[in-house]
């Protein structure tokens, strides 16, 4: 399938999940164990995405300028910087490290 098809299909699946919350009888999803698992899966997915975005290059593990970006982002988040500042500092750190000839 083309990238266009996946874009539209993924969007429809996510929209369907939202609608499901309004159509499915409450008791099906009200189970606290389901809510807990859903919250933890969100955390797990994001943590795994941080790792792949930082260290994966195709199917190789590499250490490059992206690690500097994540380190700077972590410090910025620790200091309660807003989202856009964190992202911009990440870009600056990666671009800066590359400009110096590393990674």
């Amino acid at each position: 399938m083309s990238l266009w098809a996946w874009v539209v299909l993924a969007a429809l699946v996510c929209a369907a999940f939202k609608l499901a919350g309004y159509l499915v009888p409450a008791h099906v999803l009200e189970n606290p164990r389901v809510a807990h698992t859903a919250a933890m899966v969100t955390c797990g997915l994001l943590a795994a995405l941080v790792v792949t975005q930082t260290f994966a290059s195709g199917t190789a593990l590499v250490i490059d300028a992206r690690l500097a970006a994540v380190a700077v982002a972590a410090v910025a988040l620790w200091l309660r910087a807003p989202f856009i500042v964190v992202v911009l500092l990440g870009a600056l750190a990666a671009a800066g490290v590359r400009a110096l000839g590393w990674g």
Binding site: K18, L29, T42, C43, A60, A91
Partner: protein, 216 residues
């Protein structure tokens, strides 16, 4: 909130183009998918060389929480007719959080619609702006956009790590993903980490004391 959403949307638009989507595909994601975490996940998997199916599955898993938000919002909003799909489409982190922060039911309803519509407008305008900007920038690595993507995921994860159990789950998922990167196709490590996370969270779940009393 409009300003924060705008900044977030510009990041998404620029990173989506850097990941290899075109401007229109990027805008369709913001219009139709309209849930930031899933959108970032989708472009993250595609940008990392993952298959379309893996990108869809990752985005869908991150979208499950919106169904739980809808469940909380349905009895409050009681939408009928065309308002039901409209309310569903606007059910995201921000609108749910604003609604739940209000003391009165009427204020909760107003907060939901105002936040949902406001974020929708700003998010889509910012996405278009970010996509045009990303298109102008050209080579993503030179501008550090790959570093920005990693930083963005860390920023999405950070506020969810307040609970100790979430920190443990985050470490577990990170290790699973790192171990699998060299031995599986791109996109699979993230899905495998989600599967392990779901299994551990399901079996480790212990209801808080007041719930246990009520159900026993």
């Amino acid at each position: 909130m409009g300003l924060a959403t705008g900044a977030y949307g510009i990041s998404f638009g620029a990173l989506s183009v850097a990941a290899g989507l075109d401007i229109w595909q990027t805008c369709v994601l913001s219009l139709l998918m309209f849930t930031g975490g899933s959108q970032f996940a989708f472009i993250g998997v595609i940008g990392g060389g993952g298959a379309g199916a893996a990108a869809l599955a990752t985005a869908a898993l991150l979208g499950v929480r919106n169904a739980l938000y809808g469940l909380q919002m349905a009895p409050l909003l009681r939408p009928r007719g065309w308002r039901k799909p409209a309310a569903a489409h606007l059910t995201i982190d921000e609108s749910t959080a604003v609604a739940l922060a209000q003391p009165e039911p009427a204020a909760r309803r107003a907060g939901f619609w105002a936040a949902g519509l406001g974020v929708f407008v700003f998010w889509n305008l910012a996405t278009l702006g970010g996509a045009l900007l990303g298109d102008l920038l050209g080579d993503p690595a030179r501008w550090g956009l790959d570093g920005a993507a990693a930083a963005a995921f860390l920023a999405l994860l950070w506020p969810r790590l307040k609970v100790r159990q979430a920190q443990a789950i985050g470490v577990l998922a990170a290790v699973v993903a790192a171990v699998l990167i060299p031995v599986t196709p791109a996109g699979i490590p993230v899905l495998a980490a989600a599967a392990v996370t779901a299994a551990v969270a399901w079996w480790q779940y212990r209801p808080p004391p007041h719930v246990r009393e009520a159900t026993s």
